[in-house]
Subunit: 268 residues, 4 copies
């Protein structure tokens, strides 16, 4: 190697990948500065999730709220697209990690990404309300602007349940965290204001759904919107894995979405 | 629909997908019989992982041991193939779930699957020892047979660390679980016997590595070998997500494995 | 099954998946109405690609132009993110299809998706020019609007090459197709007008790049913008497969992006 | 950078990724030594597929035979697991490349990988016959050994069709290639001998299926078994893309495998 200042150096190369998350050298593994041997057996999995994403360990109140959200989204049965893909893939002779990957891949803007988009929406409301505007007025403006773009308002509406069984436990935990001073309640108030805005002039309410509830949790906890999707991925991976494993044990090979006796319709 | 006995019926169709993991109907979500509203806020994420995979909630001792294993494998830095793929993918303008999926997909037989294969190996030793043979003799036979098939013995050897910092905390937690009567120790004894067999006649030992340690944990806890890989997937997904998110924030687009100033070698 | 009109019927089920692409029954496979036995050995792979996507076979001129675009994008070496991911994944003990999948997954908005976005842009210019506006004026308005949204204008600029070797052959084939009356030239003229707009007031031109050239081809051929990405996927899958296979033969396991002797930088 | 012989050098780094497939430098793209501008518009997509995988351009006879196999496997309708996954994924708000990736990921040992395994089997027969044994005797031994391992013999049997419409055109093209001296016929004879062996003592024959026919083609053309799967991936990606695109146009969101009116069965 010559001395030409334009020639690449080893330093140029070692800087190409840089991380604050972990330091790994022979006989050393540190996660955000914590030696891993001090975490194993003493720190919960949820606390380690927070640690890797945020840079420090969570407080007990933060950990509890994150845990509630992670538990809430683990599964929604074999008709959820992610679960269906996991089960179909599991019959094709690929590894469990591959079946999980095919399924996690489907958690996009429409299936799992709604929480991310709702967090954007609630963030806009909370930011305006934090700047002095009434939360009701903020909700009205923001909802108006989002509705002009699309008829689907992320986080609100009956997707499958009339009264989603995950809603009350999640929102109650948020209120408890507000009462305990763990979070401010800004996102909770924003979500309630949006729900109020959606109810105006309608006979049937448009309630917040689970994407909206988890968006409230992740917003209160200070996660950026894409991590609402990322955390939904960690949660749903549990159900995806369980279903892929269960399908493997049922013994069918190359399973399609329906029995072969019901062929798809041919559109001539 | 006619009465022809050969015609498919709606029953044929509804039986095509069947699960014991969850029951999802309008306003109802039950995970292994537990209403989800009773789990959110009261049950840990790790306990829910066990619940979905095994069918009932774990005992505190089982939960602690599973948690230790899940924490141990979350990350191994940007040179681990799964982490590298996550970071590269994250610069390509795809969703976080897609970057995670591309990375989880790499956790195959060689990267993450070694725990699954080690669990098969230890299971063979433990089964023979359980049938009356000495564990040392069982280890000797099984190791001999595995070595005839491949020079890589899963779960043993220096992959990167001379003394893996995850080893001692994991094996100590297993021993504590044995002392507490949570697990039998059959896999721990099998792993120690294999380590002893590998040391015979060598100047340098071939110690158990982290794949082997997690295999011991998962074997003691009664998980089938493919779930050793599945649980490694849930664990490593955390680091994968964190690294994909961090790379997104570093602002580069379309990042390759090295700086463009260092082109790949062309083999003419 | 009862007679309740609300009960699902087998018809509801068989309509759930409907396609005009293929009809598959015992002993019958028809692709867009063509029995497959009439296609095998008589119809080119590229013509079959067109057939499945568009519904009928292409003319020879259309097939030639599509083929040129597909050939142009097959590979860009091991530093392209998709190729890097394929090669890393191939060392992890997963199937070739899995390595290909992880890599194809990275062909997003920034790596492969630029052609899709450029086709949107050119389509806007071509539509306005088709409505009577001069193509130069249309280019000026559209470029102005796109530049307000992002500093990256898809399809234009030096990404790696100063003079991309794929540009001239692709644009020449488009001009030939215009001369032969196979395509109208609307997208070619739009692309040239955009290039002219970008050159105004600059000392250095901002030439159309390969994403832009393939966008011109796909636009002239009448493909919707997402299929610009889809066709890029079919093309790049060839290089992805070849590189994954080659890496498999090089014998390394669990390969990271750089040699272990160059650790990543830790940001403390 | 110091002179320590143990310190990594830039050379160590640039050798980490090495390829004979392509050379990419500013203004240069060569595929197996061919400048890409000489391939675009003059060389077929199938010939380029061969070029990248094999290192040189195919003869016309080789190209025709490869093309027949690639055309044969492009689609098998919405009940094929890969197609089902593509269509479900396409309703989830992810990119077309992501839907394709999730689907390609399912082309494992059981769905698409059967061609790879059949090529191994036929290769064993052809090798023994090439060493002097009669092909019938070779077939008998090899089939016996494979049947001892699994009841599924890859490449043979009624999977869906009684008379697969792809069989005759594929095998006829192989025979033509033998007659033209393009290939030797060793794999064709091996496949016929296996079919004969499977027929012995049975009332119903066990005919070669499409996995077996494509295995014959890829074996005659000299492709290694994993590339039988790789080439099936390139072929099936076409149908996967077409179905994902068509489903996108049908407007449903978050589609499961069946209508919601038919819930999955809960195994209590």
């Amino acid at each position: 190697m010559n001395d030409d200042r334009d020639a690449p150096t080893v330093r140029d190369v070692s800087d190409w990948w840089s991380t604050a998350i972990s330091r790994v050298e022979p006989d050393v593994i540190e996660l955000r500065g914590h030696p891993i041997q001090e975490l194993i057996g003493s720190t919960s999995f949820v606390a380690v999730i927070w640690l890797l994403l945020r840079g420090q360990l969570p407080t007990p109140g933060q950990e509890r709220l994150l845990e509630a959200a992670l538990v809430s989204s683990v599964d929604h049965g074999p008709h959820a697209p992610s679960i269906a893909v996991a089960r179909i893939a599991a019959t094709c002779g690929i590894g469990l990690n591959n079946a999980v990957a095919s399924a996690v891949n489907t958690l996009g803007d429409v299936h799992g990404g709604a929480g991310e988009q709702c967090l954007h929406l609630l963030g806009e409301v909370a930011t305006r309300a934090g700047a002095g505007e009434s939360v009701e007025s903020a909700a009205s403006s923001v909802v108006g602007r989002w509705r002009a773009r699309s008829r689907y308002l992320p986080g609100y509406g009956h997707r499958f349940h009339t009264v989603d069984p995950r809603r009350e436990p999640l929102l109650r935990r948020v209120q408890e965290a507000v009462d305990d001073g763990v979070v401010t309640g800004a996102y909770l108030r924003a979500a309630e204001a949006v729900e109020g805005e959606l109810a105006r002039g309608r006979s049937r309410p448009v309630p917040i759904n689970v994407d909206g509830c988890t968006a409230v949790v992740y917003g209160e906890l200070g996660f950026a919107p894409p991590l609402a999707r990322g955390l939904f991925v960690l949660s749903r991976s549990v159900g995806i894995l369980a279903h892929a494993w269960e399908e493997t044990g049922q013994g069918r090979r190359n399973k399609g979405p329906m029995p072969p006796s019901i062929p798809p319709t041919f559109l001539s």
